[in-house]
């Protein structure tokens, strides 16, 4: 054997080159050598290992740009190993860790720890962000340049909004010096204070303090003024309201360097899912009303929403089996990211290639990652999936150490059949 492997009989989906065509991919070791419709159309040579993709889709490996990995400090909720296994099972080849674990990523040693653990685990690729402010306390800026040299792809305070306008201005201004991306958790924290779920009829029925939808757009609108002032690249995380999406849409039309993402639960569920105080539906930002949910779908459709990320946030039973007020926020999402996203194709007719773009080339472009494309010379990271496979999510069967999903016993369509990272099959139902 030559170390050559051919993935044949595939439906090639490469959003970067707008390709959706039958064909094959040839890799050598950990790199793509060639790909396309014509490749091996006359049959593969004999010295090549063949993986028959059985007509399934073959796309660049999915990149999940929002993963909360609680190690170090929260290993009982998720470890590098379990998060990697969950990613692989979900068809995700690269994850980007939010810096909001117990130990914030505000210095090089934490990035070095993550790099070492990622090497030891060696299942999927694990990247990380740095914090915007030290200790994520919203005060002094972290060392963007030094953290970037140590691997930080962009800067965010994770699930904490950077509320101080002056600090945000300086963060954007300083980031613009280097061209770094600033990612905001867009929620006006004083307006959202004490809030447990989205304000509205359901919150009133349950007697839970509400967070008004405007808490999201008012933070984004403030930040957009600062983006205009500084020229920095700005990304609004997990947008969930119609008003926020409109604000981003018009900012893009004005040519501002603004992007945003959403998570599958914001286009799959609305606040009625909180019924019976289901703490697995407690997330930040909260699940909104039906109008907002539909607006998120339209935001994905028209490209206002650039990226779909899972916002994977593992929580153990002790963090969730509590009265709603006391329960932690978060949903494990790595293993449901692909099928819940594909539902937008099956049920809402959003083109498959656009949805895959939201999971591959779009996050790669935002974060200056080389992955996310099918291209000769690039790493052999790809996801082979059956877009039509029916299956039922079972919380207990998840690879994640934590099982906090509101999608237990939920019927979905679309499954990762083989996850390839640097030429290695880290998950496969094909072999």
């Amino acid at each position: 054997m030559t170390g050559l492997t051919a993935y044949t009989n595939a439906r090639l989906i490469d959003p970067a080159s707008k390709t959706d065509v039958g064909g094959a991919v040839l890799i050598e070791g950990n790199k793509i050598i060639d790909w396309g419709p014509a490749l091996f159309s006359d049959g593969a040579p004999e010295n090549v290992r063949i993986v028959d993709c059985r007509g399934y889709c073959l796309a660049p490996g999915l990149i999940d740009m929002r993963v909360h990995l609680p190690e170090p400090g929260g290993e009982h909720k998720e470890s590098f190993e379990t998060a990697s296994a969950a990613a692989a099972a979900g068809g995700v080849t690269s994850i980007v860790c939010l810096p909001d674990a117990e130990t914030p990523i505000d210095n090089i040693s934490v990035l070095e720890f993550i790099a070492r653990r990622a090497r030891e685990t060696n299942i999927v690729k694990i990247y990380a962000y740095g914090t915007i402010t030290r200790e994520r306390d919203g005060g002094e800026l972290s060392e963007f340049g030094i953290l970037n040299e140590a691997g930080a792809l962009a800067f965010t305070d994770g699930d904490r909004a950077l509320a101080d306008a002056l600090v945000m201005r300086r963060a954007l201004s300083y980031a613009a010096t280097f061209g770094f991306l600033i990612i905001q958790h867009p929620e006006e924290p004083r307006l959202a204070r004490n809030g447990q779920m989205s304000e509205g009829e359901m919150a009133t029925r349950l007697g839970l303090a509400g967070i008004p939808a405007v808490a999201e757009v008012m933070m984004i609108e403030r930040d957009l003024r600062l983006v205009e002032l500084t020229g920095a690249r700005y990304h609004a995380a997990h947008v969930s309201t119609a008003a926020a999406i409109d604000a981003v849409r018009s900012a893009k039309a004005r040519g501002l360097p603004v992007t945003c993402d959403t998570a599958p639960h914001y286009f799959t569920l609305n606040d009625t899912a909180v019924m019976d105080y289901r703490t697995f539906t407690k997330v930040s930002p909260p699940l909104r009303d039906e109008t907002d949910r539909l607006a998120v779908i339209e935001g994905v459709r028209d490209g206002t929403i650039d990226v779909i990320a899972s916002d994977h946030r593992p929580q153990d039973q002790d963090s969730k089996r509590l009265p709603f007020l006391q329960a932690e926020t978060g949903i494990v999402g790595l293993e449901t990211l692909l099928p819940l996203t594909l539902a937008l194709n099956h049920e809402r007719d959003i083109p498959l290639i656009d949805l895959i773009g939201c999971l591959t080339v779009a996050p790669a472009g935002l974060l200056d990652m080389k992955e996310g494309k099918l291209e000769a010379g690039l790493p052999a990271d790809f996801t082979i999936f059956d877009p039509d496979r029916d299956w039922t999510v079972e919380a207990s069967a998840l690879q994640s150490k934590s099982k906090n999903t509101p999608f237990d016993d939920y019927a979905v369509k679309g499954m990762a059949m083989c996850t390839v990272v640097g030429g290695r099959h880290v998950h496969s139902l094909l072999d």
Binding site: A203, G210, Y277, P323
Partner: protein, 325 residues
């Protein structure tokens, strides 16, 4: 007690009483009928019966309360149950025992009924899902306080014979009130017209979808009302955060004789207690025996809680393996 048994037989099986949302009219009426019989019992020299003999009732109060706990305690004792009071102070919770741990621990002692009060909305339901006995909600956060709504309904029904078509104005801190929510559900189910009167800071979102008319001026809200229910303004909400001051609150939303003049001449004044005299209600008015039924409410409370205990324990024996939650 033959008559009582007949009434209870009409009731559908119910293991827990967690709220008034969705409670059917027949069930509310039957519970009120059952309560009537206990009012008489409570007025006898010998107040004790034995229908709960051998049963264990634990009052589990995660939030301080003297009145409601005493009412449940008397209700249990007058029916012959063994009653234990348990105050779970916040410090004990800080030691690490979760609500579910507490529930499992208590459950292992084989109580028949737990009455539970908790500061968090939904906590009583959560606890009820983890135990094999019956649970009565004695108030959870801003969610529900079903026995308060039932005792209010009993008080009104005894004075006005029916709740049908009565205009009931609920005034004050609706946003944080479990009493208001339970009353809104019950009164709507029973065919009363419900009005709410409060400053906008004390009204929860989308409350107009709950079958109520919302008013911001007392004079509009209580005009021609049959019943005026005043809610307690929690101390921590008085100063500056939701209303500017107690003085300003009383000026615009406190009930006094002048404002009361626009209500029906025989309108009844109710309050779930404990009252803040001079803040939500004029002190003299609260003591006016012609208008205020506040003490009657307390009396009805014991009877209603006896009826609730009676109901759930009958269903315990009828459905040893649990019934409809």
């Amino acid at each position: 007690m033959a008559e009582t048994e007949k009434v209870a037989d009409l009731l559908p099986p119910r293991r827990h009483i967690l709220g008034m949302e969705g409670a059917p009219r027949e069930e509310i009426e039957a519970l009120l009928d059952l309560s009537e019989s206990y009012i008489e019992q409570n007025r006898q020299d010998d107040k004790k019966s034995s229908i709960l003999r051998g049963r264990t009732l634990i009052n589990v109060f995660f939030e301080n309360s003297t009145r409601t706990r005493t009412s449940f305690e008397l209700a249990g004792k007058r029916l012959g149950a063994d009653v234990i009071n348990m105050s779970v102070s916040s410090s004990a919770i800080k030691k690490g025992e979760t609500l579910i741990d507490t529930a499992m621990t208590l459950n292992a002692m084989h109580p028949d009924v737990l009455t539970v009060r908790h500061a968090d909305s939904g906590a009583v339901q959560l606890l009820s899902e983890k135990v094999t006995c019956s649970v009565l909600n004695a108030g959870d956060g801003s969610h529900e306080h079903p026995t308060q709504a039932l005792l209010d309904a009993l008080t009104i029904r005894r004075r006005r014979d029916t709740l049908e078509r009565l205009t009931v104005a609920i005034c004050g801190d609706i946003a944080h009130s479990r009493v208001a929510r339970s009353n809104i559900y019950l009164l709507n189910t029973m065919g009363a017209k419900v009005r709410l009167v409060a400053p906008k800071t004390l009204l929860p979102a989308a409350i107009e979808k709950f079958g109520v008319d919302v008013h911001h001026r007392m004079e509009d809200g209580i005009r021609d009302a049959d019943i005026i229910m005043m809610l307690r303004l929690q101390t921590e909400r008085m100063q500056g955060s939701f209303v500017p001051s107690t003085r300003e609150y009383f000026r615009f939303f406190g009930l006094d004789r002048e404002k009361l003049a626009v209500a029906k001449p025989d309108a009844l004044i109710m309050h779930p207690g404990p009252m803040n005299r001079g803040i939500e209600i004029d002190s003299e008015l609260a003591d006016d025996i012609d208008r205020s039924v506040i003490h009657e409410q307390v009396e009805m409370g014991v009877a209603v809680r006896m009826a609730c205990l009676d109901l759930v324990t009958r269903n315990l024996s009828r459905n040893a393996n649990g019934g409809d939650a």
